[in-house]
């Protein structure tokens, strides 16, 4: 059983969630996973119990794997931007 995740490890994981969620080229998925990352990390902020913490940590690792794979797939099959999306967005300068 690994030691409990430290504060910096959790923060780093959170940053990875945000970064990978931002990589979705699909507007709806991107916004959903950003929202989900924010709410779920906030929810688990108060976790004290060791087994619960470990469970949440492992689950988050699994979910991060899904996010990494799926954001890549989302970039492989791209569609037009939605009517609410600006064509030049600040965090998406790779597009031209």
């Amino acid at each position: 059983m690994p030691a409990l995740p430290s504060r910096s490890q959790v923060l780093s994981l959170y940053r990875q969630f945000i970064r990978n969620a931002n990589n979705f080229s699909n507007y709806n998925y991107r916004n959903y996973f950003l929202r989900k990352a924010k709410t779920s990390f906030r929810q688990n902020k108060t976790l004290e119990d060791v087994t619960e913490l470990n469970e949440a940590w492992n689950k988050a690792q699994r979910e991060l794997g899904v996010l990494k794979r799926q954001s890549v797939i989302s970039q492989m099959y791209t569609f037009d931007k939605l009517v609410v999306e600006p064509l030049q967005s600040s965090h998406d300068k790779r597009r031209h």
Partner: protein
């Protein structure tokens, strides 16, 4: 054109060519081939827009109607906002992630029990079944996979009466059911069964007294949908279940729009049969399920005969990828229930408030007994199809997808006692897990503008504004 996977990788790639790049989840992505597969219609849309603005007819007519159908060349994308969640929902990326491995390696037949290929897929199938059953508090053995809710409904509506045909000859359903239930019930008429179609009140709800009065000694099945697909009205399932149990009649509910979206407990609500669809809960299309109670046992004649899979009720090899995707979708709707419903509720209130602030609009169906993710609004003095045409940047529907090809007004709104004009001018808005607040605000603004625009064109609207009661007019020539 080369689009790499991340910015950091692009940088690395520039300085370190011909090296293996470590990418997400320790996957190696080849950079010398084009990975992106764009499904791009933007160019076509732009060309169309250009043709329109250059066309002499358009300039000569001076009409602004087309300008009102789009937000063009404004620095924004062109793909419409998806707001038709009752027709289908986008596949959740987490669902796709579970499904992919069945197309890359796990290709065994889940019914092959002589080798590990079969065992591994069978394990995944049973795992999915467990997730699907737990959403409605059912037993794993009570879930039968089908191709979708239409097949489930047909299986129940035809299978149960056929099994009990020697003693029971009567089926009860309602007028607002989905087409597949109505048509299946109608087909049973040809086999000598009697069918009672219950009326609903102007709220869209079934009268429990009517239902109880309609039950006869030879009634074998009552089928009432949990959440209506057009108006989002929730029927009192628990009360109906209690009545059916009291009279020892099987109770089937079509929960395609309700599963995972409203709390359902088959034991507490005395539901004997229940239809589920995967693609309404962010799962893959082409799969669904039917819950068939085991204690007390419900028996039905299978429609599809064959190798005896799925307790002999639905033969044919299962599609493990679809089943696993469906299972993951079910696991997610259960896990995310609170956050999803809170999100949908919030956006729904925002949208309802925004739309009803336009004058002469009304919400169809009960405002209390409803699933918040389905909003059906009538815009008086506007023709629904022309409003949909003017809303090319929002994917909406005037009712069920099955009937949207025909121009006949919705039979559900008819059953609620709405007249043709109002039924023609109603539009259904579906909100889901992936809808954002930004999209809702865009929709409210777009609808406001275009309803106003279309009403300005209408002579009827002029008369209404002058205070003339349209019903008092005697139209000549009739």
């Amino acid at each position: 054109m080369l689009r790499s996977i991340t910015r950091s990788l692009t940088v690395r790639q520039r300085y370190l060519p011909r090296l293996c790049y470590r990418s997400y989840a320790s996957a190696k992505v080849a950079f010398d081939v084009k990975l992106e597969t764009p499904t791009d219609i933007e160019t076509a849309t732009r060309e169309q827009a250009q043709a329109r603005s250059n066309s002499e007819d358009v300039i000569a007519s001076g009409t602004t109607a087309l300008n009102h159908a789009y937000r063009e060349n404004s620095g924004f994308g062109t793909r419409p906002i998806y707001l038709d969640m009752q027709a289908t929902t986008p596949t959740d990326p987490r669902v796709l992630d579970t499904m992919l491995k069945f197309y890359t390696g796990l290709y065994g037949n889940p019914h092959s029990n002589t080798h590990s290929y079969g065992w591994e897929t069978n394990k995944e199938v049973e795992n999915a079944r467990k997730h699907i059953a737990s959403v409605i508090n059912a037993d794993v053995k009570e879930i039968i996979f089908t191709s979708g809710a239409t097949e489930s409904n047909n299986m129940v509506l035809k299978g149960v009466p056929r099994f009990y045909k020697k003693t029971k000859k009567h089926i009860i359903t309602t007028r607002t059911e989905h087409k597949c239930v109505l048509e299946a019930a109608r087909a049973m008429k040809n086999e000598g069964f009697e069918v009672t179609f219950l009326n609903v009140d102007e709220q869209g709800l079934v009268d429990l007294k009517d239902l109880e009065a309609a039950i006869r000694p030879d009634t074998c099945l009552v089928s009432v949908m949990a959440v209506n697909n057009e108006i989002g009205v929730m029927q009192p399932i628990k009360e109906i279940g209690a009545i059916c149990r009291k009279h020892k009649v099987y109770f089937h509910t079509d929960a395609a729009q309700a599963y995972g979206k409203i709390p359902i407990d088959v034991n507490e609500m005395n539901i004997d049969l229940l239809s589920i669809s995967s693609h309404k809960i962010y799962g893959p299309k082409g799969i669904g399920a039917v819950y068939v109670r085991r204690r007390p046992r419900v028996r039905l004649d299978p429609i599809i005969s064959g190798g005896g899979q799925e307790r002999g009720l639905r033969s044919g090899t299962l599609a493990p990828s679809l089943v696993a995707g469906f299972g993951e979708a079910a696991r997610l709707v259960k896990e995310e229930y609170e956050t999803d419903i809170e999100h949908i509720q919030r956006l729904s209130e925002r949208l309802t408030k925004g739309l009803l602030s336009i004058e002469h609009t009304s919400l169809n169906g009960s405002s209390d007994h409803r699933y918040p993710g389905c909003i059906n609004v009538s815009f008086a003095y506007v023709e629904g199809e022309s409003l949909l045409m003017a809303l090319r940047d929002i994917a909406l529907s005037s009712g069920s997808a099955c009937t949207s090809a025909s121009l006949e007004p919705s039979y559900v709104l008819h059953a609620l006692g709405k007249d043709d004009a109002l039924a023609h001018s109603s539009i259904r808005f579906g909100i889901g897990r992936f809808t954002t607040e930004e999209e809702v605000d865009y929709v409210i603004k777009a609808i406001k503008e275009r309803v106003e625009f279309l009403r300005e064109l209408s002579p009827l609207w002029e008369m209404v504004k002058e205070g003339i009661d349209l019903n008092s007019i005697e139209w000549s020539g009739h």
